[in-house]
């Protein structure tokens, strides 16, 4: 008990500092469910998937890690689309998205130095851990199709964010549909 209390006292000191931080943070973001996805590449792909014509020079410019390759950055190319969407609790790529994934596979096959990260995401229906696994399965299924299309497995890393980085934060099908996706993030 005594040892326990000493520990609590030490942690209490840490907490004194930490709670100040949390107060600062609450001043800017209190009581909001802000989207946590801060990756610029992801926001540009969001624009792409909604409207290809909106792929403006600004959104390309803000993605500093984008390679300066004309084909990859051509807004009229299928390669401008970087998100693959999935129905609820599935990880098989839908027929309508196969040409998109195949276009990326062909590009990667022709640019062996190019690396891409495939990031799987899910909606909030399911436990956080199950969704982490489901997001991984989505990323892996895109990776597999890229490899079948000629990409080298060393070019692709597949990761999952599960439901942790929702693009849309509502609790309805419109939001969920946007969150059930895998993003291709060129490095």
């Amino acid at each position: 008990m005594k040892k326990h209390l000493i520990t609590l006292t030490l942690l209490g000191l840490l907490a004194a500092c930490a709670s100040d931080k949390s107060k600062e943070a609450s001043g800017t973001s209190a009581l909001t469910r802000a989207p946590v996805d801060d990756r610029s590449s992801s926001s540009s792909s969001a624009a792409n998937s909604n409207n290809v014509a909106e792929h403006s020079p600004e959104s390309t410019a803000e993605s500093s890690n984008q390679p300066s390759n004309d084909m990859l950055n051509d807004p009229n190319s299928l390669l401008a689309k970087r998100s693959v969407y999935f129905p609820f609790d599935t990880s098989a790529i839908q027929d309508s998205d196969i040409p998109l994934v195949q276009a990326h596979a062909k590009y990667l096959a022709g640019h062996g130095e190019q690396k891409v990260s495939v990031e799987g995401n899910t909606d909030e229906r399911g436990s956080n851990e199950y969704n982490l696994a489901l997001g991984q399965r989505r990323a892996d299924s895109v990776k597999k199709m890229l490899e079948l299309g000629g990409a080298n497995s060393g070019q692709i890393s597949a990761v999952s964010y599960g439901e942790e980085k929702p693009k849309a934060t509502g609790h309805d099908e419109t939001s969920w549909a946007q969150n059930r996706r895998a993003d291709l993030d060129y490095k």
């Binding site: 209390l5 907490a15 949390s22 973001s29």
Partner: protein, 420 residues
């Protein structure tokens, strides 16, 4: 269950934070079938300390839903000799707590406390509880535990701690707090997600999933010496850590060989052994109290359900059937039942199931309710829920009668887990 709840007198108590670093406010909904009427006489000694201890005890007992606090009508006996049992009987109390608090020169506080049976006119327990001045609330929790144990026969859990993740926009804080939400300590803060905190059996360490390197990896952090190590950081996702009861190994979920499967790993990260072998998702392992079996979530049968398998590997037995999907299983401390999240028709419900009868009991109204874990005494279940557009912590008694909502001051509370 809804009918029972509607029939009960709803008690609503707001326990406001009295110190700057307390971040949770609490609402209690529902009440136990039989509430024991308890009187707590004002403690003697330093007025401020006495009031804090009194408030902690009253708050703890009220939150349990098993007690009713009887007004002391201005009476304030400090010693056994000053107690007139007839007075307290007249006020309707079945038990009475009295005590005094004193401070020593080195800054330690000591409370001398007696719990009296008003009906039998006898002492149930008398004890001295001592701590540093900074930990005055711990004295109150200890006394609450003694009262709870004497009057209900079950161990109290007021001195235990919980862990959860507080999400503030892009910021993720891993938080450890007392079971009433006070004494919040942020043990990790970063701009990448934190998931699945899991207490070591001795309460000295937390294992958790952090995305700080860009993908999910499992870490173990010591709370006493503020030291952390990477437990599993293979390619893909490393997640869902669960401690064995002896604290020597963990079950984790890895994708290094393909799909999400369950592995055992020693505390130093060595001796990684694959346990499950199917083409589906196996995740969220949880050790049985005897360490012999694991409950886990798997979609090997087509949809997410709860399965059980021996830790030596071998075939898994499906535990949940019927409509819907099921996630996040955890054994009760006595090993006789398990709690999990049941998903059906768009809603998540905190649910228990008895191993022997296979009987499922839904404990909550349904919503975005996730990640249940039992208190060490098995009487309460902590889980993540949502209210007023925020992720909150909530508890429900294991019989479903008493519920509490705990609100953080800002952001979303998620991924809670009850510790020792």
């Amino acid at each position: 269950m809804l009918k029972i709840l509607r029939g009960l007198l709803a008690v609503l108590v707001m326990l406001q934070a009295s110190t700057a670093n307390a971040t949770l406010s609490i609402e209690i909904i529902g009440a136990g079938e039989h509430q024991i009427p308890v009187a707590i006489a004002p403690f003697g000694g330093d007025e401020k300390s006495a009031k804090t201890i009194h408030d902690v005890i009253a708050g703890d007992l009220l939150r349990s839903g098993l007690f009713r606090i009887v007004d002391n009508a201005g009476k304030a006996p400090l010693a056994l000799s000053e107690v007139n049992y007839q007075d307290w009987r007249g006020l309707g109390a079945e038990a009475l707590a009295i005590g005094t608090v004193s401070a020593s020169a080195d800054g330690r506080l000591t409370a001398r406390f007696h719990l009296l049976d008003v009906v039998k006119q006898s002492e149930l327990v008398g004890q001295e509880v001592s701590t540093s001045n900074a930990q005055i609330r711990a004295i109150g929790h200890r006394i609450s535990d003694l009262i709870y144990e004497k009057l209900t026969g079950d161990k109290g859990v007021f001195s235990t701690r919980i862990a959860y993740v507080n999400r503030l926009g892009k910021r993720f804080n891993l938080v450890v707090a007392d079971s009433d939400g006070y004494n919040e300590q942020i043990v990790l803060t970063q701009n990448e997600p934190i998931l699945s905190p899991a207490w070591s059996p001795d309460g000295s360490r937390l294992a958790y999933v952090s995305f700080e390197t860009g993908h999910a990896a499992v870490y173990v952090q010591s709370l006493h010496i503020n030291q952390r190590m990477v437990l599993a950081n293979f390619r893909g996702s490393n997640s869902a850590p669960a401690w064995s009861p002896d604290g020597k190994q963990l079950a984790v979920v890895l994708t290094k060989d393909g799909n999400s499967q369950i592995y055992l790993i020693r505390l130093d990260g060595s001796d990684v052994r694959r346990l499950s072998a199917n083409s589906g998702i196996d995740t969220e392992p949880n050790f049985s109290p005897d360490g012999q079996n694991l409950l886990f979530t798997s979609d090997q049968g087509g949809s997410a359900q709860i399965y059980r398998m021996p830790i030596t590997g071998g075939s898994a037995q499906r535990m949940t059937f019927g409509e819907g999907k099921n996630f996040s299983p955890r054994y009760s401390p006595d090993g006789k039942s398990f709690v999990f999240t049941h998903y059906e028709a768009g809603k998540f419900y905190i649910t228990t199931q008895d191993f022997q009868t296979g009987q499922m009991q839904i404990l909550t109204e349904g919503g975005l309710e996730k990640k249940p874990s039992f208190a060490p005494n098995g009487k309460l279940i902590l889980f993540a829920s949502e209210a007023r557009g925020h992720g909150i912590l909530a508890t429900v008694s294991s019989d479903g009668r008493v519920k509490q909502h705990m609100f953080t001051q800002s952001g979303d509370a998620r991924e809670p887990v009850w510790g020792q």
